[in-house]
């Protein structure tokens, strides 16, 4: 290479003379180390990309762990306590202690037992309603987006109606009409009124996907419509279904708690909402029986927090811009270490 003659005039040595002024770029490996990036863990390579992104998302996994812990305690309730949630277990308003971990209610029922058994019903209703709402949203959203035309017009009308009708007041009307609104009725009504958002997002996404080459190609090759929906469209909707499910579950758990709290539920069922209802009715706060009111509050708040964390993860997967913003701090530090102004956006 040394035989190349550097001629004067137009040519200048292309690597700048004063190398100090040229900021040496780090190699890719050095940069990864400096920005604290780790190469993708090997065990995730066999997962589909969306799932792999989810299991490596810190916020999402914390949410999943909290939610799993709550589900497991509810599932193994009989192993965790020997009391019956519906029966008196001791004197009224016993302070938390060895006999009663979280004390007893005014009725003398064991608060911890009610909490873990109540979780069974509350979580089932919440998750069930959330799942059902996501499924209804998925079916209607894909149909509207894929078939278009009249189908789309009709479905969109109902989506908009469900979106504008005020959920809780509607449920109150239904719940007062059916004598006692037990957890299954509440769950059913919540599922039937909570699918609007999921349907709307999935419709928009399906519309966008419909115009993409691979769907058009499948259509031109004469694939059956249900096959296109199932094989080409559905897999791309998973993260949006997940989002709809998480948001639907949050809404259902909150609405169930609210309905039961204002006394519209079946007061004899044991759920977190009815625990709050009885605590409020028996003036637990006023009489200083904090243990009757705090545990269901904390359980509901933990469930809500866990679902919000999962939703953050889903958001970051469906919307890469949100994820990119997490790197901004590291990029700014990289630049400031090199004396360069950090005007990153």
């Amino acid at each position: 290479m040394s035989e190349i003659v550097q001629t004067p005039g137009l040519s200048r040595p292309l690597r700048a003379e004063n190398a100090a002024e040229v900021l040496r770029p780090p190699s890719q490996a050095e940069l990864m180390a400096e920005l604290g990036l780790k190469s993708r863990p090997g065990w995730t390579s066999r997962l589909p990309p969306g799932l792999a992104a989810f299991v490596t998302n810190g916020k999402g996994m914390v949410g999943v762990i909290i939610l799993l812990a709550l589900i497991l305690t509810a599932l193994f309730a009989p192993l965790l306590t020997s009391y019956d949630p519906n029966r008196r277990a001791g004197k009224p308003h016993v302070q938390p202690g060895y006999e009663h971990v979280l004390g007893t209610t005014r009725m003398g029922k064991d608060a911890f037992t009610q909490l873990v058994y109540g979780g069974r019903v509350s979580l089932t209703v919440g998750i069930g309603a959330g799942l059902a709402a996501a499924m209804i949203g998925l079916a209607l959203g894909i149909s509207a987006g894929y078939f278009g035309g009249r189908t789309d017009d009709i479905i969109t009308f109902f989506v908009n109606v469900v979106l504008v009708l005020p959920g809780l007041p509607l449920i109150i009307v239904i719940a007062t009409m059916v004598e006692t609104a037990g957890p299954p009725v509440i769950g059913l009504v919540l599922a039937l009124t909570g699918w609007g958002w999921a349907a709307r997002t999935i419709r928009t996404q399906t519309l966008a996907l419909r115009a993409r080459e691979f769907v058009l190609a499948a259509e031109l090759m004469g694939e059956k419509k249900w096959r296109i929906i199932l094989i080409e469209i559905f897999p791309n909707m998973l993260s949006f279904v997940m989002g709809g499910f998480v948001l639907g579950t949050i809404a259902a758990i909150l609405a169930e708690a609210a309905l039961e709290f204002i006394g519209l539920g079946d007061p004899n069922s044991v759920t977190w909402g009815t625990m709050l209802y009885w605590a409020q009715k028996n003036l637990a706060l006023q009489s200083g029986a904090w243990w009757e009111i705090w545990p269901p509050c904390i359980a509901i708040m933990l469930t809500g927090a866990a679902l919000v964390l999962i939703n953050f993860a889903v958001d970051e997967i469906t919307n890469p811009q949100l994820k990119a913003s997490r790197k901004i701090g590291r990029i700014k530090r990289f630049l400031s270490r090199r004396g360069r102004s950090a005007d990153v956006f």
Partner: protein
């Protein structure tokens, strides 16, 4: 028109995209100059990093992009180290930008008058609102849009008119360099030609330099003085526009030229380039083009060739074949 004095000197510019578990090196240490009054073109297939270079020069690299090293000197000053105030002046007073899609480049809910006047008022506060408006009218006339439409909204204009408005905004402060990132790609051919002719005319009148980016090699040869060819984040050849098709040095430039229909003369069979560019997260050792190069030698897969000047062709190229 163009002089030999360099307006913008780019040295070892490196731009990375920061992924979750990897770094993609989109631009790998490229060197080139843009001279005063010159139209410099960057060509290459999509994804080769030409737009990334353009944004880096204007200090507009978006997340998760990172200019991880190198130097960009504008009139002798280091652009990458500009502090806030200097950067504000650099932007638009010295370098302005024309985007590919004029529809997306104009804010749809703000009248275009405001979008051209705000840049004038920000940089020339002494003009006041009246002066800024007068200047905006002048600019509209310059690009051939009736000034009475100044207060319309972007959606009320046709695609070609929107791009003219973008050019008017780019010219508003009389910058020394205008970066044009595929300015005509989104337009139909007739409008495309009109706009290019207008840019050529304005350039000869106002004397600014242009960094012109397009995948339309024919358009580029007509409009530019010199052309840099990029492949997979590297400059493989920089040559005068007149000789890039007739006397290409680098095998990639040759391949690019033969995959492109000649403007005149007999029809020829077009040849594509077999294979696809390498994964930027895991680059091959040696020359990046070697896996697709019909003339690859043993050395090509070992060491990367450097961009060197070959006086006999008046061009720079990075290829072992030339040594």
């Amino acid at each position: 028109m163009s002089s030999d004095r360099a307006l913008l000197e780019v040295r070892n510019l490196t731009v990375d995209y920061v992924g979750d578990n990897s770094i993609a090196r989109a631009v790998n240490g490229i060197d080139f100059d843009i001279r005063e009054g010159e139209a410099f073109g960057l060509a290459g297939e999509s994804g080769c990093g030409k737009s990334t270079v353009a944004f880096a020069l204007a200090r507009l690299t978006r997340l998760p992009g990172l200019v991880s090293g190198g130097s960009v000197r504008f009139g002798g000053e280091e652009v990458l180290q500009f502090e806030k105030a200097r950067l504000k002046a650099y932007r638009w007073r010295e370098v302005s930008f024309v985007f590919q899609s004029a529809m997306n480049a104009l804010n749809p809910v703000i009248p275009v008058s405001e979008q051209i006047m705000d840049v004038i008022e920000t940089h020339n506060p002494e003009l006041g609102e009246k002066g800024a408006r007068a200047r905006a009218v002048e600019m509209f006339e310059l690009v051939g849009i009736p000034p009475q439409r100044l207060d319309d909204f972007p959606h009320q204009f046709s695609g070609g008119m929107r791009q003219r408005i973008c050019i008017a905004i780019a010219l508003a402060l009389n910058p020394r360099l205008i970066i044009m990132d595929e300015p005509t790609t989104a337009l139909d051919v007739v409008v495309q030609r009109d706009i290019i002719e207008q840019i050529v005319e304005l350039k000869s009148r106002l004397g600014f330099s242009v960094l012109f980016i397009t995948h339309d090699l024919g358009l580029m040869i007509e409009f530019c003085d010199r052309i840099g060819v990029m492949y997979s984040g590297e400059l493989v050849e920089v040559a005068p526009a007149s000789s890039i098709l007739t006397n290409p040095q680098h095998p990639y430039t040759r391949a690019l030229g033969s995959s492109f229909p000649p403007l005149s003369g007999p029809r020829q069979r077009l040849e594509g380039i077999a294979g696809s560019p390498p994964d930027l997260r895991a680059l091959p050792q040696g020359c990046r083009f070697s896996p697709r190069c019909p003339h690859a030698m043993a050395v090509c897969t070992q060491t990367a060739p450097e961009l060197r000047f070959y006086p006999e062709h008046e061009s720079e190229a990075a290829c072992h074949l030339l040594n």
